[in-house]
């Protein structure tokens, strides 16, 4: 019931916003997404109170003859992802208050539609439904990037769309393949998650490898993991700020979440065989993206590459398949989601106040607006995973997890901490410290909506850095469930 509400509210909200006019649409969107956040908090308390409550389950038949059900549920893992989504979407909407978009009703309607699809992805318990939501999430973001994006957007968003669609079609084939092997004992085919799990285990190594690569392609492109990342930097830079936030803050997590829930337990044999290769690719991606980030001049592009580096570590941790690795992956997904939204907002503020994101042309903003400098500093420190910030918990667990997989791999993956500090501090130095430049001379005070978003982000960074236990407990619980399925 509650979970159905979580999916239906953004859908209704999207339609309401579509038919609203002018500036009311963004306040309406903000209000409705706040309602959604409150509902998700209710779901959290419900879960804490009684995890097996029927409120957190919904299962109705969709196409009975094919075993397709509209089955959604909230467990520890999906609860965390749902909370991340419902928390970030209002922030993302609030962060857009200083940008005027043409046809705001369509813009915010699409954002809410996307939220609906994302929550569907995170709660789906039926392979077919998961795929449908997965694809549905792609269409709003495609239009957001296409219609409201920057220069050369048609080509770039197109590349993004084809890449991700290609990946997801392969995933569909992989899932259908497993589906075709369900019902080996009962004779009734089913798309239910647990049936897919048990069918996946009956496959031999070659069959599992086929499934593994088909499905991994989709997740690998979505995250993105090296060498499937080539769509990402251009798309992040070209998309409107809110689109980038949705892409990196939430949509990226579809890939990593998918890895945990829809790939690891499905093909354990193939995971043993190919996991090392994929971890190798991820770790290489960390180093590669970090090195490119160091020499970037455009701040938004720098964040885009840093995102590849972060997600590389998350993927490596998850694929090392142990308690610390997966749990760290989940924690880092949450932290990265919040931090990257903050960073992209900073990039957007720079662009609006100075007209440029080029590091060479920026400098000395600290002297103009000390308040902004502090907020930016906190977000940046969260992003380089300083202890007592939210990034630390995840990164620590991740490196611990990767270490259990292999010491040398962990050594290389650990470089992300150093390299991350290098490019983050270097960019902070270039933007905030030093002499003022022409473009930063007139850097005034921040708009109140920007300030509020930054306050909330900074508060989250510190609060969950100092006291990560509530999230950590949930992540641990979710990880244990997944690990029992894999074993």
């Amino acid at each position: 019931m509650l979970v159905g509400l979580l999916i239906i509210i953004p859908l209704i909200a999207a339609f309401l916003v579509f038919f609203s006019k002018g500036n009311t649409s963004r306040t309406l969107a903000l209000g409705l997404s706040a309602v959604e956040f409150i509902v998700s908090l209710v779901a959290l308390f419900q879960y804490k109170h009684n995890p097996d409550s029927s409120n957190l389950l919904l299962n109705c038949s969709w196409v009975e003859s094919l075993g397709i059900h509209f089955a959604v549920s909230i467990d520890a893992l999906s609860l965390l992802m749902v909370l991340l989504t419902t928390f970030l979407v209002p922030l993302i909407i609030l962060s857009s208050f200083n940008t005027t978009y043409e046809k705001p009703n369509s813009f915010y309607g699409l954002v809410l539609l996307m939220q609906m699809a994302l929550i569907g992805v995170f709660t789906a318990n039926d392979g077919f439904l998961f795929y449908v939501f997965w694809e549905l999430a792609l269409i709003p973001i495609y239009f957001i990037c296409l219609v409201w994006g920057g220069e050369n957007r048609a080509k770039i968003t197109f590349k993004f769309f084809v890449y991700t669609l290609l990946g997801s079609l392969f995933m569909l084939i992989g899932l259908i393949y497993v589906y075709n092997h369900t019902g080996y004992d009962t004779g009734i085919k089913s798309w239910a998650l647990t049936d897919l799990y048990s069918a996946g285990k009956t496959l031999n190594l070659n069959q599992q490898s086929f499934v593994f690569w088909c499905i991994f392609l989709a997740f690998g492109i979505k995250m993105p993991v090296f060498p499937l990342h080539t769509w990402q930097p251009d798309t992040y830079v070209t998309a409107p700020t809110q689109g980038t936030m949705l892409l990196s803050g939430i949509m990226l997590k579809m890939g990593t979440f998918g890895l945990i829930k829809w790939l690891l337990p499905l093909a354990p044999l193939a995971l043993n065989k190919w996991g090392g290769l994929v971890i190798g690719l991820s770790v290489f991606g960390i180093l590669y993206a970090s090195c490119i980030a160091i020499v970037q001049k455009d701040y938004k592009r720098l964040i885009a590459y840093s995102s590849i580096a972060h997600v590389g570590l998350i993927a490596a941790g998850i694929l090392s398949v142990n308690q610390q690795g997966i749990q760290g992956g989940v924690m880092q997904m949450l932290a990265h989601g919040v931090n990257v939204v903050g960073l992209f907002l900073v990039a957007d503020i720079l662009m609006r106040h100075t007209g440029t994101r080029e590091l060479d042309k920026l400098g000395g903003i600290r002297n103009m607006n000390g308040n902004f400098a502090v907020l930016f500093l906190i977000i940046m420190l969260g992003s380089v995973a300083l202890p007592l910030t939210n990034g630390f918990v995840g990164e620590f667990l991740l490196i611990n997890g990767v270490y259990q997989f292999g010491q040398w791999v962990a050594a290389f993956a650990g470089l992300t901490i150093i390299l991350g500090a290098v490019y983050m501090l270097r960019s902070y130095q270039a933007i905030m410290l030093g002499e003022r430049k022409d473009s930063t001379m007139a850097f005034g005070s921040l708009a109140s909506s920007d300030k509020w978003v930054l306050y909330i982000v900074c508060f989250t960074i510190i609060a969950f850095g100092v006291y990560p236990k509530p999230l950590n407990d949930l992540a641990e619980e979710g990880t244990k469930v997944i690990l029992t399925y894999i074993k």
């Binding site: 969709w62 196409v63 449908v132 197109f158 084809v162 669609l165 569909l172 084939i173």
Partner: protein
Amino acid sequence: MKGLFIISGLGILAMLAEIFKFKKILYPLVLVGILAAYLVNFTEWNNNITIPMFSNMIRFDNVALAFSGVILITAFFWFILANDYFEQDHVTDHFALVLFALVGAIMLTSFSNMTTLFLGVEILSIPMYVLAASKKRDLASNEAGFKYLIMGSFASGFLLFGIALIYGATGSFDLMAIRSFISQAQGSLPVFFYAGVLMVLVAMLFKVSAAPFHFWAPDVYEGSPTVITALMSTIVKTAAFAAFMHLFLVVFGGVSEVWSNVLAVVIALSLIVSNITAATQQSVKRMLAYSSISHAAFMLMAILANNRGWASINAILYYSLAYSIGSILAFTVLYNVSKSRKSSGIEAFNGLGKRHPFLAACMVIAMLSLAGIPVTAGFFAKYFVFTVLIGTSFKWLLILAVITSAVGVYYYFKVIIAMYFKQDDSQEDVRMETSHALLLAVSSLITIALGLVPNFVIEIFS
């Protein structure tokens, strides 16, 4: 059966209309007649599966009725789309030709004898040759009709020769007799029987325009009047696939080792050639022509899977319905845009998103459905094909289909990008009749409804 009678009667009425001067009421009469045929069609559901008609020449079993249903509902939509096609000269001739083509199409869903197959193919094709050339002062239209005639007759020749060879081997035109002959012979069939099967295969591939027998299709599609192109890519295609399926799943299913590898190569070629060529097209009409080849390849995949249960038939039935409705949607938008802007090129769609949001939204739904994105009908269509094929040894075709689908997205989305991204305010406004707006609304709704609740179609046979 009664549906077939009604449509034939309407065709004869249409020919008489000129003499008895009721041309004016002919259009509503035809619409009502087709709707009546559609309804009557389903009163025979489950009634007479075992009753062969005309010495077992025609059998209206449930499969035939379902495909006739698809054809008739598409025909109804098509007549609404084509209303002003029937306001030019030769009105009654056009009506009669289209109606007789429909008769041929329905025969192709229900034949149970090789002679009725041939009759159906010819009754369907000959009016289509004339209709393709019906813009008689237009050179391209004449060329289209002529090419269609030459290629079509060639294919008919193949079909006849194939039928003759099969008759020579089995001594019968009757499909069930041929089928039991195959199962009794247990592999010891004469070589020329296999040659006959392959010739029938080639002829049918001509008719469904699969590569490498597709060369006529783009020119014919582009040259013909837009509404006739819509007719070809919906009704003719559905009928041809109903026949194809009947022949190769039911009759020649026992000798699938002869034709399945050939068919697999044809499908692979069709997927590659059509998608790559479609991606380079500047004309939306031509792009749709090439994309129809790729859709043909998808439906052929369901035949290739040769699933003895209902899965293949269900997949083809659903696919042809989804594709027909999606095509009607796309062609209705294209027709209105190209009429007002005098061009069927992609640039005619520039700025449509802003000027005509309704038209653009319908086109987006059509493109998403043809590209196979959830939650449209086209997605389930592809999904069903994937599920029947994944159990066979032709998994490599699936990988190829996935990759070419991504190419497909490229050209379908070119239209969407033109509508929403490119601005052009200098162009003419698109004027549209209310009936067309209604048609667009209804077929958009059907496309999405089929994508949300495919149960009604997919659970017909089980």
